[in-house]
Subunit: 522 residues, 2 copies
């Protein structure tokens, strides 16, 4: 089997060449124009001497540069590295080094970061500027590269070649590069089309970060059917509603935090969301009452995805119908299932396994393991961590705990990985703990999540300082901010006078801390 991500755009331009493919501010491209830009950029990468397997990074707010990156970089065998813009410089340096990024695309927001990375990263030798205004003299213009390159004859790329590397926080404290192949990304796009039902009549709004696979899944799938991409730099409630109204958007992806922000205020006069067909959300289930309000207010169908970077990302899906039945309240079981992660999508197998690797029955909690053509090839440069999670017969151990009910709905109950999901982002506790431990006054630390009405979960830390220390909670937070992304920094640092609670074996009991501070918060 030998899929190539370029098949998506090739189909769209052949079938819908004259149709609008992309809207980004004042820029509107039809599919012919998008295709020409993508081919030119592909050729430009040849010009930089990048061979198949070489890595191109993108560090930018949402823009057409991401769409071109997704479609152009893997086209001839090169590898896309979509960087999380919220990461700290130290984290970005690690990632650029780990994946040997040769060329980095930046915009005006990340130009300075790009320059620092150019100095510090040995493999990086070229900055491409895709921002607004004049191209700085130390960069090469994205606009020029995408309009003047020669169009090369497309080379044959093995379907199992890596198309993209997507970094995810690591349980060991270092980010891990998830290698997704052409086959992985195209399998996931097919699965997305089967559950979402996109067609060439759809207009999709990229408001969530385009560096995330939650959005990336729709980038490939929508291109394949020839739909229209509408891109805004990022999410804000008023801008989102104005764009939906102006562009007659039919499909969108949001995380629950964004949905809460949307529903917090009455819609401005002139808002017209009648074009919306469906909104996809992920990262966590939503309470029935919020869903009810969302459905009433936005008047469209809702669906939920449970996924992970290693799954490219879709694993399971709560359908439109699941939501309608759950919210109606007529069927208590259907309502209870609104708290589930839905059912395995066509193309992905899901099992729940016990400690001895036996497959458990309905209602029995164990580790969620998954299999499908969408499952990653492995972690870059981490053979041991790869073999720890990928079995010989193709199963991936997610590290999430859960159970399947009698109807095959998956309930995620806990994470084997010590991880928090805050505002749709995964935060690995070990990463945060490592950052805090690097402060010389910190004697002991434990990071854990507490329920939060806006973010789903919020990052909390319990710290015991050295006896003489006068370091404040705020100082510790500022210290962490230097080392890790803002969304990973604890919202609250709780300084304890005593040792942290521990098990007989000396392991910190995070459960006890969660209970203690949940009560304090309430």
């Amino acid at each position: 089997m030998n899929e190539n991500i370029s098949a998506a755009l090739n189909r769209a331009v052949a079938l819908f060449g004259d149709r609008e493919a992309m809207v980004d501010g004042a820029t509107r491209w039809d599919y012919r124009e998008l295709d020409a830009r993508v081919r030119a950029f592909d050729a430009a990468l040849d010009g930089f001497g990048l061979a198949p397997g070489d890595v191109v990074g993108v560090l930018a707010a949402n823009s057409k540069a991401h769409l071109v990156g997704w479609l152009a970089v893997p086209r001839s065998g090169r590898v896309l590295n979509e960087l999380n813009t919220r990461l700290s410089l130290a984290e970005l340096e690690f990632i650029l080094d780990d994946s040997a990024v040769r060329v980095l695309v930046v915009d005006e927001n990340y130009l300075d970061t790009g320059r620092e990375l150019l100095r510090s990263s040995p493999d990086l030798d070229t900055l491409i500027y895709a921002g607004s205004g004049e191209c700085p003299s130390d960069c090469i213009s994205f606009e020029v590269l995408t309009t003047t390159g020669e169009s090369p004859r497309q080379v044959s790329v093995d379907g199992d070649a890596t198309a993209g590397i997507f970094y995810t926080g690591g349980t060991t404290g270092r980010p891990k590069g998830v290698m997704l192949t052409h086959n992985n990304l195209m399998a996931n796009a097919k699965h997305a089309l089967i559950c979402l039902g996109y067609t060439d009549r759809d207009t999709y709004l990229h408001a969530g970060p385009m560096f995330h696979l939650a959005d990336g899944a729709s980038t490939v799938a929508l291109t394949w059917v020839g739909g229209k991409h509408v891109i805004v730099p990022g999410f804000d409630p008023e801008g989102w509603l104005a764009t939906v109204s102006a562009e007659r958007v039919t499909r969108a992806m949001l995380v629950p935090t964004m949905i809460n922000m949307l529903l917090a205020k009455p819609f401005p006069a002139g808002t017209d969301t009648s074009s919306l067909v469906s909104i996809l959300y992920g990262a966590s289930p939503m309470p029935q009452s919020v869903l009810q309000t969302a459905m009433d207010t936005l008047g469209c169908d809702w669906c939920q995805v449970y996924g992970m970077t290693e799954g490219a990302p879709i694993i399971s899906f709560m359908t439109y119908d699941d939501h309608r039945r759950g919210v109606s309240g007529d069927d208590p079981e259907a309502s209870a299932r609104l708290r589930s992660a839905g059912r395995p999508v066509v193309g992905v197998e899901v099992e729940v396994r016990g400690a001895d690797d036996t497959v458990l029955g309905a209602g029995e909690a164990g580790e969620i393991v998954v299999r499908g053509s969408n499952i990653m090839k492995g972690y870059l440069n981490r053979p041991e961590e790869t073999s720890a999670v990928l079995t010989e017969d193709g199963w991936y151990r997610t590290g999430d705990m859960g159970y399947l009910d009698a109807g095959g709905y998956l309930f995620v109950v806990d994470r084997l990985k010590d991880m928090i999901i805050s505002g749709g982002e995964n935060v690995y506790c070990t990463e945060v703990e490592n950052a805090l431990y690097r402060h010389s006054d910190v004697l002991e630390v434990a990071v854990f999540g507490l329920p939060d009405p806006q973010w789903g979960e919020a990052v909390h830390a319990a710290v015991r300082l050295r006896p003489t220390s006068r370091t404040s909670a705020d100082e510790l937070r500022m210290h962490a901010r230097e080392l890790i992304a803002g969304y990973k920094v604890p919202r609250a640092v709780h300084i304890l006078d005593d040792a942290l609670p521990k098990s007989g074996a000396g392991k910190i009991l995070k459960r006890n801390l969660r209970e203690q501070f949940a009560r304090v918060d309430a």
Copy 2:
């Protein structure tokens, strides 16, 4: 990439175990029962000593045995050979020998044929009886095998292992076994789901032959989403309408010949087709007037597939929307496109190439070449014929001539292969010519197709006999009937007094014959 056909049933039984999976006459199985039967049959094949790669044939009218065969035989790596029931004994003998069938499933209609094959085929050692009534003493009971087998732990099967062999008439006069892998069949099922939109709420009527991939595509796809299979032994208009009414059928597949038969008479009292959502047809486009009548009479959506055994089978697709716009008559271009084969489905690339292998532009006719995860592994035991049609970079040369219009709609204009499509079946002229040449009085023969209102095309033969011969056209047809399937036997044998018309190079000019006899017929 490593798909396994068993993932479809595994998902259905986990999610919809209690739902009705199959109706065949008085037999109703839920997914749990179907799964138990499939596992038992799989285990029974172990009991016969069949290893991965060994071949199981099915020669039977539509019944639950086909559904079990599709799902059970490839499950542990064995190979399904669905036999065309219309083939002659000589053809079946060739196929059983070519593919080394070890076990053959028959019903009461093909029991005698099975017994003859058991005598003549060296590899065949077991007949399984899946017909009605008592199991004959020289057979093993399908009913017993599917209820008493032990359920084995499923073995791991490579996605590129052959799951099924499907014989197609050969241009060289010998049938060719198309090897379809697990990956091929599962890719096609995903493509089918993307274009057809089946869900677990669907009920599909198997009325076209289940040995055909035109039906087989829905067998796998519908199981994967957990829909219901309704099986009737074969197609007849009254039975079809009665079953649609009684079982509230939502989806069906028909060939144009069947549609003509359905529309020929008023529907019986009590017919209720209101449950129908869509009808898929294939093999050839339908005239706008017939489609209009079909839509008015059956009141559902219509879609058309262009495909071939080598493509597992779907290549391109005329959507519901294409049909609605085409039939409305508001848009002459949309109406003209009703004569097309639709547009390439997501997952399949289509190019039209000139004689020098260059890719041709819109409107230019050349050979249709296709690529995708659905394309066959090759022809069994035919490395040369395989390499003649499969290129190194994964393209398959269909042998069909056509062009793509500016909107990417594919028009099939002629066949490079000398082939007739009659009532949905491919008839290779060489096969028919070879059969006629085996009659000692035949000096010269040419087989060609003429348009036919009921069958799409009808098989015609022009024959020149030895000077002294008195053999009649009917004698020649009976002679052919001994050697080839009934649907391949010429509807008319035209005995000529003169030599057949030839080109300067001595090649018979079939075009001239088609013109001559089309006038005679009109």
